[in-house]
């Protein structure tokens, strides 16, 4: 006896209906059954089991808190000397190596107007501005392209806007360097340690094969200090909360005309230049 198509489909349909509505279906949809995942121990409970004394992890009470960190660079106050002081402070506090040639690592550096603001090219602009050396760093964009392209989430955006690097996760693919329109990222083509003038013991170095950039001194904010460049620049660089209308940074932005780098790209950089 053969099974014709009609019979086969009927049989298949009935068994499928029975299967779905059967014991398994009811068990799966029983209230609370799918919530089991929520009752799993949290990572902390697994890492710090009770018998070893439940430990607590919390932020440093002295930390600086902001809703959205940003930086203002006052080009009237920024002199070559204060720019150098800021750069040297940053390089020291973050163990940034100085490698001769194209493989240098840059967190913060100076560049001429024409390179910093290429879209506002104007042959008759104020020569004071045109010939000035602007201090540039990671813009900690609101919409950071580097974060979007990172395949391992090694670079990510914190709630307070800082675009951070987790060096432990970086695989050195350099997508972020291709994504960043500001050239703020550098790749460690070689072991940076021999090129560090003086090691700062409180901050790690990097290793060969990872990308690095400015982190808005997240490690200093966490202990209640201002970023190293802002501290060393003698008032030319002001760090603050962009979201706080009463902050010194917002007052400066209200009073003076400010420009940002390549705003038409839609990255919304958070480093403002008062010109």
């Amino acid at each position: 006896m053969g099974v014709d198509r009609r019979k086969f489909l009927k049989l298949a349909g009935v068994s499928a209906a029975l299967g779905l509505g059967g014991a398994t279906g009811f068990q799966l949809l029983r209230p609370g059954a799918l919530d089991a995942a929520e009752r799993m121990p949290t990572p902390y409970q697994m890492v710090f089991p009770k018998e070893h004394g439940a430990a607590e992890i919390m932020p440093n009470p002295k930390r600086l808190q902001g809703r959205r960190w940003g930086m203002v660079v006052d080009m009237r106050k920024l002199t070559p000397a204060s720019a150098r002081a800021a750069i040297e402070a940053c390089n020291y506090y973050h163990n940034v190596p100085q490698i001769p040639g194209k493989q240098n690592i840059k967190w913060i550096w100076t560049a001429p107007y024409v390179n910093v603001f290429p879209e506002t090219e104007n042959p008759w602009a104020d020569p004071d501005i045109k010939n000035a050396q602007f201090i540039v760093m990671c813009n900690h964009c609101d919409n950071p392209p580097c974060v979007r392209v990172c395949p391992t989430k090694a670079t990510f955006q914190r709630e307070d806007g800082i675009v951070m690097m987790d060096m432990h996760r970086c695989i050195g693919c350099r997508f972020c360097m291709a994504g960043c329109p500001y050239g703020s990222r550098s790749f460690n083509f070689r072991d940076p340690r021999p090129f560090i003038k003086k090691e700062y013991p409180d901050y790690p170095t990097r290793t060969r094969g990872v990308v690095e950039k400015c982190n808005f001194c997240a490690e200093r904010l966490a202990v209640g200090k201002l970023p190293a460049c802002a501290e060393a620049s003698g008032g030319a660089m002001v760090f603050g909360d962009v979201d706080d209308a009463g902050s010194e940074l917002r007052q400066l932005l209200r009073k003076r005309y400010s420009i940002r780098r390549k705003p038409n790209l839609g990255t919304s950089p958070q480093v403002y230049y008062l010109v």
Binding site: P43, G53, A55, M58, H168
Partner: protein
Amino acid sequence: MYDKGKIITGLVIFLAIFTYPLWSNMGKAAPVPKPELPPKSVATQCIADTQYMRTSHMTLLNTWRDDVVRMADRVYVSASGKSYNMSLTNTCLECHSDKVKFCDQCHNYLAVAPFCWDCHLVPKPKEKK
């Protein structure tokens, strides 16, 4: 059996070479590592009990890493209520100041090579006064 002599000689030589690591190391068991604890004047207790630190310090350090980098939580309160700054170089190695006499003891014994030190600095051993 053809070439009996050659085959048996070959087998004996093969076995001798194959088992070389076994019999050459016989009676030469590596000594059990004895990591040197910091003197009592520096610290009398670690951030968690010894058994936990011995088996799970790497898990703890991984959690610290994620908390510090991702969550910006940098203070660890131990079961005894003491607060610590979560830092490998500045907290762990503050007490365990000699990496060679502490970390490397077990790591070398177990032939593990954690790459922490590629980036994290090892403080120079303090000179004894």
